[in-house]
Amino acid sequence: MNSTKFTGAAAGMACLLLPSLALADELSGADTAWILTSTALVLFMTIPGLALFYAGLVRSKNVLSVLMQCFAITCLASLIWFTYGYGLAFGDGGSMQKWIGNLDLFMSGVGRDSLSGTIPETVFAMFQMTFAIITPALVVGGFAERMKFSAMLWFSALWLTLVYLPVCHWVWGGGWLGDLGLLDFAGGTVVHINAGVAAIVAALVMGNRKGFGSVAMPPHNLTMTVAGAAMLWVGWFGFNAGSALAANGDAGMAMLVTHIGAAAGSLAWMFMEWVRHGKPSVLGIVTGMVAGLGTITPASGFVGPMAALIIGFTAGVVCYVATSFIKRQLKIDDSLDVFPVHGVGGILGTLCAGLFVGTLGGVGLSEGMTTGGQVWIQFIGVAATFVWCAVLTWIILKLIDAVVGLRVDSDEETQGLDIVLHDETGYNL
């Protein structure tokens, strides 16, 4: 199915640097074992990691709705990926290859013996599937506590198809951004900018939650949030180190820089709050962790540990400021702060990948490339993803609003989505 038989996060870069690798087609047991493991880790990020992280942040009357959204997206995105998603993202698009893959349905070209690089193509497809699951699940944070479940399903399916799959193809599937030399190891553009922009556009199109800014909406269970955040940290090793698509030095370095980024981001956010508000908060330290991890993601296979330290600290500070600014100045109810954490982090990290690839222990710029030139390419990747995602997300939401309606009505919102949409309550104590 894949004519090159070598695709993936590092494909563009690796092909530039090491053309001989593109011909490797012998199965490696070690590589396969690590990517099997990574696949499980990344799925674990969404359910239960992200699901719990988000569930703790909403009010108790909406806890099940968020868990349900994450779970349902996991199932829906998996079947879309199997039906046509993998083909559109990673298939050979022929004359359209710059823009999109092909419409080989039901992974028809993927058999027991197909290889993708040194791992079975089934494993590669499964690994990439888990990215297609977590990205729309991240968007849930933008429209939490007010979206109809049916509209959420329509949105996730259309958004995955029209936004995620093309961008994934552009960057990792042999499309134009990968060809251009964009460095995005594990999803700064594909996952984090995409999710962040979609979330804030959703918040703008749907409007703020009833009472936003005047009624207290504190997280109902921060122990759940901290547990989910810790699962995300662990799962992120699969996300970033797995994106090496091999059990090798790149994977090891990706794991190291990922960990440093998370730790630095956590402390940076914690100290920002401590200085500005007088107390270090639990929610602050775990949010800083997500910011650090999201920001190191695109750079994780390209930069060294000192760069990771800088990236992590910067992420904690910048995402903290962005969160306050969007909430307090712009008064946009991106309810669980997806854009300021993932979107801003993704932009920052994608630019930093270009900035630090050639220095501080990075893998080095490709031949003839300057740091300025690389950062410019990174900027093009950021801008293209941002604009495509913003426009398409807006169109999809307007369409769904006209056909099925996006929001539950005001009374239902007050009552809570758990009882209104699912006839259940999270806590019968």
């Binding site: 207290a216 909406m217 504190p218 997280p219 709050e273 508000h277 107390k279 908060s281 929610l283 602050g284 949010t287 903290y320 969160t323 306050s324 909430k327 307090r328 702060d337």
Partner: protein
């Protein structure tokens, strides 16, 4: 008969219960409540969103007693629940018209 209702700080509950036992109070009813007085609330901050929490957790005790014990009960609660800081709570005393022990049907002070 009097009904004494006391609002106290939650962490003082054990001390108060102990003090009441010592003066021979047979039973109390305890409820976890929220409210505010001069202490007012506090602010909580979540990712830059500031919320003023108006109502603080307190414990409410209800004690039915005979008239001659009122002063002792008030003294016991006042001294056991006192920290000297704002928010220690209040004691209300009201007349109690009737008391009935459900099991035996006894009424009045015998039922206390």
């Amino acid at each position: 008969m009097k009904l004494v209702t006391a609002i106290i700080k939650p962490f003082k509950l054990d001390d108060v219960r102990q003090a009441l036992s010592e003066i021979g109070v047979q039973g109390i009813t305890v409820t976890e409540v929220k409210g505010f007085g001069r202490q007012k609330g506090h602010t909580e901050l979540y990712r830059g969103a500031e919320y003023v929490v108006d109502f603080l957790p307190k414990v409410k005790l209800e004690i039915g007693i005979d008239d001659d014990k009122v002063d002792a009960v008030i003294d016991a609660i006042s001294s056991a629940a006192n920290t000297g800081k704002i928010g220690d709570g209040k004691i209300f005393v009201a007349n109690l018209e009737q008391t009935i022990r459900i099991r035996t049907g006894e009424t009045g002070p015998e039922a206390l």
